[in-house]
Amino acid sequence: MHTPPEAVRVLVVIPAYREEKNIGAVVSAVRKHFPYDILVVNDGSPDNTSAAARAAGAAVLDLPCNLGIGGAVQTAFLYARDHGYGAVARIDGDGQHEPQDIGRVLDPILAGSADAAIGSRFLGETQYRGSIPRIFGIGFFRTLVNLFTGYRVTDPTSGFFAINRRLIEFYSNHYPSDYPEVDAYILMHRLKARAVEVPVRMHERWEGKSSITPFRAMYYMVKVTMSFIINCIRRFG
């Protein structure tokens, strides 16, 4: 079991949309390995995601309508900011992120050596096999991030990360509504934040279907590229 240094309170954030079948197991797994507070953000699911998360022992934020992943996660950042948490770790609610590896993304944050630690499925022992379009997309964003920010990343679309108080406060005000991961690199670059990648394990989904369709994948590429470039020239008040 990880025990955090006295001063830093850690919140594990799990955004979930239609994950009634997976969310309970994810919450239980996190509770088994870590003593941290757990917050599930239910992004307006029509199913029993909220009840399942509560039954497993998580605190739940119920959004009255579906905001998209970025808007949901931002709600958790607002919660963490207002409740004085010093670090937030975020993992998916569908079981793709190995809950045990929360320790790996949190370590650099708790040690104070980084503002953000992003879990990469391509570092270390990897068993990840993606489809060809997905690998191409990841390669494209890798180049984009590297070119515009200088961060050397292997897994730019990873939603498995931990951030410190400074980024919690910034993201509370500025966080992209959908597909936030790639954009976050520009925001971090603008803040001159220290970002590191750590190896994590990612699995296939446990239950249900992923939300990615070919059309959405195209939209994803175009939207992310555009907002990425806009964020380079935008002002943050």
Partner: protein, 128 residues
């Protein structure tokens, strides 16, 4: 007076009256009516004042003057649509903030109830 001018006079006058009526009945808010009103007035004036239309069309190199009316109409429609996109983006942002605030308030309420039941209490600061 050519037939096309007559049509555009009737259409723009009709539009003007319709918009004014909608604003009067509070079915359309003033801020969203301004571009519509301005657009219909411009087209109405250009339809009534033939010689203005002809010299304006000539100035931008359009041989058939009524085409200039279409151009003005299309430009206004473009402007109005861009304005809609901006308005929708603003509403989107407001909607997001409200949904987030509601979720946080519901949770704060739950925490208050939980704290009431358990001896151990936790302070809940309201979102700033």
């Amino acid at each position: 007076m050519s037939r096309v001018t007559l049509v555009s006079i009737c259409a723009s006058a009709g539009l003007l009256v319709y918009i004014l009526e909608m604003v009067r009945r509070r079915r359309l808010r003033e801020e969203y009516s301004i571009l519509w009103l301005f657009g219909s007035v411009v087209i109405l004036v250009l339809s009534l004042k033939q010689d203005w239309l002809i010299s304006l069309a000539r100035a931008v190199g359009i041989a058939y003057p009524p085409s200039f009316l279409f151009l003005v109409g299309i430009l206004f429609i473009l402007l109005i649509l861009i304005n809609f996109s901006i308005a929708i983006s603003r509403l989107h942002q407001m909607n997001k903030k409200m949904a987030q605030e509601i979720a946080l308030m519901k949770r704060a309420e739950e925490e208050k109830n939980e704290a009431g039941q358990e001896p151990e209490t936790r302070s809940v600061r309201s979102p700033s």
